[in-house]
């Protein structure tokens, strides 16, 4: 005996290893009698996804796939809505119109009645037929207070299903723009399964083994991935002439952008919807990675980044001051220096390029602003902000010093660099702005409760209508907690009335929409309740090593959005997947 310690440690090590090996599977796999994993077994079928039949995506999920509940549009597993559950319509941002999906057609039979005709021959993945009752049931779930589309029932008065393929919605007040948004956003759930679920289960249920109408079915998941398998009996193959080629779609949970980059370079990832700071180098270098545009800005635009001032605080409650601040921001420097041209500077209205037709160029020409430090100084002087104590920074009109804090979450490196540029620009014009980086949760609390000076925000995505954009800017009433819209706490009754008027304009009345938009843009540029900075990209890096025919600005490639982001599968994301072709048949 040489060493007593090692002698009894070795069996412990061995036992520890064996125990770990037996349990490391992650998902509880019931495997009776499988205590000897070391025994060589033939490669089991279904043990692995064949590379040439599998699409690997990432960039959407930041936590484990915790639920498959389509009501939880914000944290259900990637693909729950879009791959499994489908909506009545899709929206095509390129053509700017709705595409019938589960619906055959939809139309306003009179000013307050909307009728949907459903497609024939659609079945749920458990074999039961899809009918008008399912649609009625889904929208009626909104009567529950905690269901996210509960407010629909403020202006929706009733739903009828006169026959199996017709659904008629009657409104007390028709909000046409919001309604279009709802019919391409709400996942239809099967009545025969969801009926009888209590409010708690509807909102918080995990909904294991989701039964949907979609092109994919649940396969498996673990804490760092979710896998979907193709539904061979999907209705769209015959009725939409779409046939997605990947047999499996595996969406990988993000741990960090570095890991996503590593996987992409190893060809283990086909579609990365992460923000990768050096994406321009990836495209120009010989890595086999492409983006939508082969040249700047490389990406489609997905949302606008705004500088949001707290309009309840002095001096940010003064529109003239806000305009001077807007004029002091060198957006070009952010776009080139911070982003390497991955993003585009925003137009003075901030409306996304997809909404260009609603931008009134006459109004922008007359009231728009552009970066000009000297002009910003003049504007400040004209508005009565003077540097009384000679420190180079202007003071409030009453002589008290101005010290504004501009915040973004710590760790958001691109935004952190961007606000350093903004603060420097403001200081050059004589406005004392300091960049600060609180923890994300602290920022959310400050932002929602109005205890901030300046914050950057981009939480409004592209949609069917500039209505959603103006709603974000102008919504009233301002409440103690502003959770999603009007963080600036800007109050303007007239503007909010116009926004509601826009909502009540029919979506095919483009001229009417333009007219209201133009008035809102004038208010926006006069008042500057938020300051548009740049258009954030629809981050998307693709590898063509296994799948080709990715959307691109070049040639005959599809023009749809190459993304798996939440709520984007209905905005062209699914169409992008469906047009993929295998590289090696």
């Amino acid at each position: 005996m040489r060493n007593r310690a090692t002698r009894f440690l070795i069996p412990i090590v061995a036992a520890g290893l064996l125990a770990a090996a037996c349990t490391s599977g992650g998902t509880p796999t019931p495997a009776p009698g499988a205590s000897a994993p070391a025994a060589p077994a033939p490669a089991a079928e279904g043990g692995a996804f064949p590379r040439n039949e599998t699409l690997y995506t990432s960039g959407t999920q930041w936590g484990p796939p915790a639920n498959f509940n389509p009501i939880r549009e914000w944290d259900s597993a990637t693909g729950t809505k879009g791959l499994v559950y489908e909506t009545l319509f899709h929206f095509d941002p390129v053509a700017g119109k709705l595409t019938p999906w589960l619906a055959q057609s939809g139309s306003w039979v009179d000013d307050t009645t909307y009728e949907v005709k459903l497609r024939q021959g659609i079945t749920w993945s458990d074999g039961k037929p899809f009918t008008a009752e399912d649609v009625k049931f889904t929208f009626e779930l909104g009567k529950m207070e905690t269901v996210p589309y509960h407010n629909l029932w403020n202006w929706l008065s009733g739903i009828e299903a006169p026959d199996a393929s017709t659904v008629r919605f009657t409104f007390s007040k028709a909000n046409y723009q919001q309604w279009d948004f709802n019919i391409y956003s709400r996942s239809i759930v099967p009545k025969h399964i969801w009926e009888g679920r209590a409010e708690k289960d509807v909102l918080d249920g995990i909904n294991e083994n989701p039964v949907g109408t979609g092109a994919y079915k649940y396969h498996s998941h673990d804490q760092d991935r979710v896998a979907w398998v193709k539904n061979d009996t999907w209705w769209g193959k015959a009725q939409l002439n779409l046939d997605p080629k990947p047999k499996y779609i595996v969406d990988i949970v993000n741990s960090s952008n570095e890991v996503a980059m590593g996987l992409l370079l190893q060809k283990g990832l086909d579609l990365s919807n992460n923000f990768l700071p050096g994406a321009a180098n990836l495209v120009s270098g010989n890595f086999g990675i492409t983006t939508f545009y082969p040249e700047p800005p490389y990406m489609l635009s997905a949302n606008t980044a705004w500088l949001v001032p707290n309009t309840t605080k002095k001096p940010l409650n003064d529109a003239a001051f806000r305009k001077a601040l807007a004029t002091s921001v060198d957006v070009k420097k952010i776009v080139e220096g911070v982003y390497g041209n991955l993003v585009k500077p925003a137009s003075p209205t901030g409306l996304l390029p997809q909404w260009d037709q609603f931008v009134d160029q006459a109004v922008v020409g007359q009231k728009g602003f552009a970066f000009d430090t000297d002009k910003a100084k003049q504007m400040l002087a004209a508005a009565g902000y003077k540097d009384g104590n000679g420190d180079g920074m202007v003071e409030n009109k009453d002589g008290s010093p101005i010290a504004l804090k501009l915040i973004v979450p710590a760790g958001w490196t691109d935004w952190m660099e961007a606000i350093r540029v903004i603060a420097a620009g403001a200081k050059a014009a004589g406005i004392n702005v300091e960049a600060e980086f609180p923890d994300y949760n602290a920022l959310v609390e400050a932002r929602n409760s109005g205890k901030f000076d300046l914050v950057i925000n981009n939480e409004r995505q592209l949609s069917n209508s500039p209505y959603t954009y103006f709603e974000y800017v102008f919504q009233l009433p301002v409440q103690a907690q502003q959770n999603t819209v009007n963080f600036a706490r800007y109050e303007n009754e007239e503007a909010w009335k116009l926004v509601q008027q826009l909502d009540g304009t029919k979506t095919d009345d483009i001229e009417g929409m333009k007219k209201v938009s133009s008035q809102l843009e004038a208010i926006m540029l006069d008042e500057m309740p938020v300051i548009p900075l740049w258009y954030n990209g629809l981050w998307s890096q693709v590898s063509s090593s296994v799948w080709k025919n990715w959307p691109s600005s070049e040639g005959s490639a599809p023009k749809s959005a190459p993304t798996m982001w939440r709520n984007w599968l209905e905005l062209g994301g699914f169409e992008s997947l469906a047009s993929l072709q295998p590289v090696a048949p």
């Binding site: 310690a5 520890g16 992650g26 996804f49 207070e145 905690t146 994300y440 959310v444 609390e445 999603t484």
Partner: protein, 331 residues
């Protein structure tokens, strides 16, 4: 003997109580409201719906109660084995998340701690006797032990994963696999395990080797060794005695190092996005997930306490003097 373990258990009990209290308190001192950030992630557009959800979740998680009641409730649910529901991976119970992550963490920790200790001690003992080994093992060990876990892990992930592409950079097993009891899956699992394990193993190895070398040299020059040598005892026998004496401080060192090793493992997991407790803790902190953070720390505290207790027991077994001492005290 009973008094010895009784005292130890009392200390462990107190430590446990303090740890649970601190675990409960610290996340709540972080700025920000967890329900608010959960709802911010939800991006529910309508203010009415937001308010309804806020009230509902505050009630569900018990944040609407006074703090002392929340604290007492947390002890109550702890004794019922209920860790609560994760805010980050809502509505997954924290216990589920932990049971899925703990095997990965243990699979890294147990082998790397024990193997590095055993191999490090042997290496150090060998180095103490051979000049050539002493000149090679010692400097390498110094470099290794001074290396931060994080740095070595990042270097290995970059070198073996990205540059040479021979090892995976992320995950517990390939994204192309589903868990099954097949040889392929087992190999894949081991393949993903090897890099994080090696980085932990190597850093810990250096420290043990240096410690052992120094103690052995001290022991070989001690009176009993010289006396045995003078009596003509074979060198091999003297070394064996020296080794057995030298192991004792190393065992104490193991108990002291456990916390550091666990912390190192957590960081290593994050670098390799290995799906263990470390990745969970990071996510819990970023998302203000009180319950997950409490649960994960509780696991670690319990683990370290149990390991310390085992080391106490082992110490009594390997060092006869403690037993004699205790028998004397009891008599």
């Amino acid at each position: 003997m009973r008094r010895y373990f009784g005292r130890k258990l009392l200390i462990y009990g107190l430590t446990f109580f303090m740890a649970v209290t601190v675990n409960w308190l610290v996340p709540r001192l972080m700025p920000g409201d967890p329900v608010a950030s959960m709802l911010a992630r939800a991006r529910v557009a309508q203010p009415e719906a937001q308010e309804a959800l806020r009230v509902y979740y505050n009630n569900l998680f018990g944040f609407d109660l006074p703090w002392w009641q929340q604290y007492l409730n947390s002890w109550g649910s702890l004794f019922r084995g209920d860790f609560g529901i994760s805010l980050w991976a809502f509505p997954t119970p924290v216990a589920d998340l932990l049971t899925r992550a703990v095997p990965y963490s243990l699979a890294l920790l147990i082998p790397s701690i024990l193997l590095s200790w055993v191999v490090g001690n042997r290496l150090g003992a060998l180095a103490a006797r051979r000049k050539v080994l002493d000149n090679t093992v010692l400097p390498v060990s110094y470099v290794l032990t001074a290396t931060p876990y994080l740095w070595l892990a990042a270097l290995m992930a970059w070198g073996f994963g990205v540059v040479w592409g021979v090892f995976p950079v992320a995950g517990g097993y390939s994204f192309s696999m589903t868990p099954s009891f097949t040889w392929d899956f087992f190999v894949d699992l081991a393949w993903h395990w090897l890099l994080p394990f090696s980085s932990l193993f190597l850093v810990a190895l250096g420290g043990w080797a240096i410690g052992m070398r120094n103690v052995i040299i001290y022991e070989l020059e001690s009176d009993y060794a010289n006396y045995m040598s003078a009596l003509g005892a074979p060198q091999k026998l003297i070394r064996r005695y020296a080794f057995r004496n030298a192991v004792l401080p190393q065992i104490t060192g193991l108990a002291l190092q456990l916390g550091v090793l666990v912390a190192g493992a957590l960081v290593t997991e994050i670098v390799f996005s290995y799906p263990g407790l470390g990745s969970l803790i990071l996510a819990a902190i970023q998302n203000k997930d009180f319950f997950l953070l409490q649960g994960a720390f509780l696991f670690i505290v319990l683990g370290v306490l149990i390991a310390n207790f085992i080391i106490d027991v082992v110490y009594v077994i390997v060092d006869p003097r403690t037993r004699v001492g205790m028998a004397g005290a009891a008599a």
